[in-house]
Symmetry: C2
Subunit: 245 residues, 2 copies
DNA sequence: CGGAGGATTGATGCTGTTCAAGCGTAGTGG
DNA sequence: CCACTACGCTTGAACAGCATCAATCCTCCG
């Protein structure tokens, strides 16, 4: 059986941005390229930023906390989630290098953000950031566009959670994750899963058991191959058909 | 038994904006107040707008169509939804007077928008609208804020679809709708439901039968009272407890 | 009066949950 | 070096909530 548990320590393939996204140690490019912002706009933002580092399980911010900052992830991955009073959890998404957090810039954070492993990010003071935006309409437009895509993905999630079967959810999740890795230049044969089964379950509206069983079945059917720290997507076409897009 | 079917014709209480939102017939205020935009910003927008009227079931736009326009609803209600190739549908939300549609301003619409009854809206040519925004950072900020709230509601929906029971979904839906009516100045004892059971089901990730049964049970328990065209919220507290917020 | 469309209601079944072990690997301390 | 523990993952059996299938009802309207 090719099923192995996923190590909880630092991921075997740490989610660091590709080296070309960073300058030297003393001239670090804090704002990641992955968001595809023009160089001039990133340069305008960088003076405002402060570096943050988190260990696994540390929280970057909590839901409903006053949103004093906006963040841009530079390495690692985070889970974004909401809790119900009785403990039920919905992971609304995962953040990867290049992603902005708190972009809606409301007074309070809409979700909590926890590090899935070691994470680095840059922090911007929200009000200063908003002042910067007021003077830079094109940057503002870019961020607005990013939010538009986030909203579109949110609608994908609604469809997934409201209308798709467990198999379809898992297939869609895996392909979507691969897609994201490709876009940030981290495509690879093996799809890393920096999040645990529980995070996946809480993201897809399933239980941990259903996620585990579905993974196991896909592995038996040679659709995927479960490896330490992630999965290998073996039969991409079948997954695509399963995801029912 | 207090269950009656809901008429399909023009709603008995048509969703028109309160009269004070409109000027006379010749000096119509096209952009609704409900979005709480400052007067100056609405005045800047109005010259760009053209009036649109839709009958029941007519489509304002379809998913993936090139988004040449942005809209602001002035009267009536619409369902916003996505379809899967096999016909499964997810209603991502409903639009009411004052709501903006297509605000993310991507090249294509993320959802389809169908009129639930007679609808009027104002249409803005998207590129002209974006030009206007570039010159009006504060208007841009306002729209960004509106999108932030939309994103927050999207996350509420994810929690609802992923983690709530049928009862909780229905209760949350009813209270949320009342909340929205209050905010646009249309609060009333009776909660109008301009959408059909199928729309509600497709919104909440349930079947039409489950929606109908849950409504019937809430009615039997004197939590709500089903009336033609909507429901009356009788036991607000119990609903609030049921919604498990 | 009769048809159409939506809503309701009942019987039955399936998908995914719940509950309960058991497994595998990493980390720890004797 | 090898128990021993902890933690996450897997697996199995029984159950439940919601879906599915199939009538039937109600109201509007021609």
């Amino acid at each position: 059986m090719s099923i192995h548990s996923i190590p909880v320590g630092p991921a075997p393939f740490p989610l660091a941005p590709p080296s070309y996204l960073c300058g030297g140690v003393d001239k670090v490019r804090l704002v990641s390229l992955a968001t595809a912002l023009p160089l001039a706009e990133r340069d305008a933002m960088e003076p405002l930023s402060r570096r943050v580092a988190l260990d696994q399980r540390q929280s970057l911010y909590g839901q409903d906390e006053p949103a004093v900052s906006v963040f841009n992830v530079t390495s690692g991955a985070l889970s974004l989630y909401r809790l119900l009073p009785d403990g039920r959890r919905q992971v609304t998404g995962f953040a990867f290098p290049g992603d902005f957090l708190g972009l809606s810039m409301l007074d309070r954070f809409a979700v909590s953000a926890d590090a899935l492993g070691p994470v680095t990010a840059c922090r911007f003071e929200r009000l200063a950031f908003m002042d910067l935006l007021r003077g830079q309409p094109s940057l503002m437009m870019h961020l607005h566009e990013i939010m538009g895509h986030e909203l579109s993905r949110a609608k994908d999630m609604m469809m997934l959670l409201g209308r798709r079967t467990a198999d379809e959810r898992i297939a869609t999740f895996l392909l979507g994750l691969r897609e994201r890795y490709v876009r940030i230049g981290r495509s690879s044969v093996t799809l890393e899963l920096p999040m645990g089964r529980l995070d996946i379950a809480d993201h897809l509206g399933l239980t941990i058991e259903t996620v585990s069983r579905t993974f196991a079945r896909l592995d038996r059917d040679h659709c995927i191959l479960i490896v330490p720290g992630g999965v290998r997507l073996v039969d991409h076409d079948r997954l695509a058909r399963m995801s029912a897009h």
